[in-house]
């Protein structure tokens, strides 16, 4: 792999260069450059992610032994609520689109910026405002919310904790997500370079495009839902109160109409990252380009119709359970199409196990485990057995962390050398991947087994029979945390002091690798004309 490494020194700092503007904080937080906004998101999201990790470690520490270990029941409820709110709304949902969509989408389609740069900056400000509101719920009103990230009624209407502030924060975050999605849809339609046809779009762009549609169409429902909670808490109109003609299951419908498609907002961009990385490190064009591109749209469409599988035990009608169960099985098909095509791309490829590839390959494995355990939950009969157990917790961590989280780490290792023009230490990156992978599986596989044995979720205590598996899970969380620390420290050091990475350290064929590292302020010296596909290594002279 050393031949991959162009060590030619570069003096230009591209968009990172403050130039005549002075380069203070203001030149960043009021910048409309999509790359600077991407880095603003990155710094905020990584900080919030680390807070979420810390809360997760506290949860696991509490569960290392039965009984009260570290915190009481009320504190435990608040900690797992905040862990969920931060990880879902502030890390995983915005993660890849807001960071790498902003950093790379315009460059990948040959544009100078997104269609609405000021709106893009507003999205970031709304993200920061919503995040600040959600965090401030910890220290204001009646104390940190204890409802879980789902804010289920009737408890969320009765609790005296500061649910209203957290819900208002989620409402504002929703606007940030909608505006980013809108911006990306218009950008892909209007700003593609000459020759950048739909069949020449990188698959990361396709995935962001499908995600953006879900963001625009489904997020308003979440906005309405959290506003209803706030109104109910203030005016007590009885919308969800059956004694006054309301329907508590209606809340669950409204919540999951958004929050299940949100799973695809989380995972589709990750699939796009993997689709871009695998051909580069297999030195082969992607297998089944159109199948992967169209399966993104199919996942976005069918994924919006399966929300009822979260409600099989809620009292929903049997007919609805049957229909939602069937649709859940259907959405597995486009996901499986992607996995098949990734594996087919690897077949007879010249595989290079560099850090981005290791993370991408582990995405395929972990996402497959998460997806297949999802079918256990999608079938009504088995779902009733494992509902609200640690099996569900393990399942969604395999999808969200093993899937989207590992894809985010893959994207960090793949694109940060382009963004900063500097390379991290690849041996340490490989080591951190190994520690992360081992820690992840010890942590969440233990949870899966203890869930199948019947341990319910959301309690700070458990019966002594579950102790061994809980100790294993907690030790796994420490290994995972060590891997994360090593990975971020290595990336940070690489960004600041790494060796020059060169313009195209991975010998990739998409457009972003044809410009200098770091990219210049307006990306391209002259508007590019695209004459080949995104994975045509031969056409790009890189075979």
């Amino acid at each position: 792999m050393s031949s991959y490494f162009d060590t030619a020194p570069r003096s230009a700092r591209g968009f990172l260069d403050s130039g005549e503007s002075g380069g203070g904080l203001l030149s960043w937080i009021f910048s409309t450059d999509h790359k600077r906004i991407g880095l603003l998101y990155l710094s905020a999201i990584v900080c919030l992610f680390l807070i979420g990790v810390l809360l997760g470690l506290l949860i696991r520490l509490e569960l290392i032994a039965p009984g009260e270990t570290l915190m009481g029941a009320q504190t435990y409820n608040a900690v797992f609520t905040l862990h969920g709110v931060i990880m879902i709304f502030l890390f995983i949902i915005p993660g890849i689109p807001a960071v790498f969509g902003n950093l790379m989408l315009p460059i990948q389609i040959g544009a100078r910026d997104v269609a609405f740069p000021r709106l893009n900056l507003l999205s970031w400000w709304l993200y920061m405002l919503g995040g600040a509101m959600a965090i401030s719920a910890l220290f204001s009103g009646g104390g940190p919310p204890d409802t879980g990230w789902t804010f289920y009624v009737p408890f969320s209407l009765e609790t005296t904790t500061n649910v209203s502030m957290a819900a208002l924060g989620v409402f504002v975050l929703g606007f940030s997500s909608i505006l980013t999605g809108l911006n990306f849809i218009v950008t892909v339609h209007r700003l593609r370079a000459e020759g950048m046809t739909w069949t020449r779009l990188p698959l990361f762009v396709w995935s962001l495009y499908a995600t953006a549609w879900v963001q625009v169409l489904a997020t308003p429902i979440l906005g309405i839902t959290v506003v209803l909670i706030i109104l109910e808490r203030i005016f007590s109109t009885g919308l969800f109160d059956p004694t006054r003609g309301g329907d508590p299951i209606m809340y669950q419908h409204l919540f999951w109409i958004y929050s299940h498609p949100a799973v695809y907002i989380m995972v589709l961009p990750g699939m796009g990252v993997v689709s871009d990385i695998i051909p580069v490190f297999s030195r082969k064009p992607i297998f089944g380009y159109m199948a992967i591109a169209l399966s993104s749209l199919a996942i976005a469409a069918f994924g919006s119709l399966v929300w009822g599988h979260h409600m099989f035990t809620s009292g929903m009608s049997d007919m609805a359970i049957l229909v939602f169960s069937l649709l859940t099985f259907i959405v597995a098909i486009p996901s499986a199409i992607k996995v098949f095509n990734w594996v087919a791309t690897l077949y007879k490829g010249s595989i290079h196990l560099d850090p981005p590839m290791l993370f991408a390959l582990s995405f395929i494995l972990l996402f497959s485990i998460g997806g297949l355990t999802g079918l256990v939950l999608g079938a009504a009969a088995t779902d009733i057995h494992v509902h609200d157990t640690y099996f569900v917790v393990a399942h969604f961590h395999y999808v969200m962390f093993g899937g989207t989280g590992f894809a985010f780490f893959a994207a960090l290792h793949f694109w940060l050398p382009k963004v900063f023009g500097r390379m991290y230490d690849r041996k340490i990156a490989n080591l951190s991947w190994g520690i992360l992978f081992v820690g992840f599986n010890i942590l969440y596989f233990s949870m899966m087994v203890v869930g199948l044995r019947g341990m319910p979720r959301r309690y700070y205590d458990y019966v002594p029979e579950f102790t061994v598996l809980n100790v294993m899970a907690t030790v796994g969380s420490w290994i995972l945390a060590a891997g994360l620390f090593l990975m971020f420290a290595n990336l940070l050091r690489g960004m600041l002091r790494g060796a020059p990475a060169g313009d195209n350290p991975w010998r990739a064929a998409t457009l972003e690798w044809s410009i200098p590292s770091p990219p210049p302020a307006e990306n391209f010296a002259a508007d590019p004309v695209v004459t080949r596909g995104p994975y045509d290594f031969k056409g790009a002279g890189l075979s």
Partner: protein, 94 residues
Amino acid sequence: MSSASKHIVSDRIFILVWLALLALTGVTVAVSHIDLGPWNVWLALSIASFKSGLVIAFFMHMKYENRLLKGFFFCALLTLAIFIGFTFFDVHYR
């Protein structure tokens, strides 16, 4: 986009649409006094959908937009219809 910005809707059409909206509001109120069982909701939703269709077509100029934008808008409407339809579907069979 440009086709819509160039199009000027006449005052006469605006007034006719406005009158139609007022009349349909009257119809909504009138039928709410008739007990049609579960069909009351469907009727009220149908009239409301037609009214919003008029607003979108004429006041928001969607009628004069190009096919791509109309297609996108249709996707949004279809999604909303599915969300509402599936939720009602559960209530209906409960």
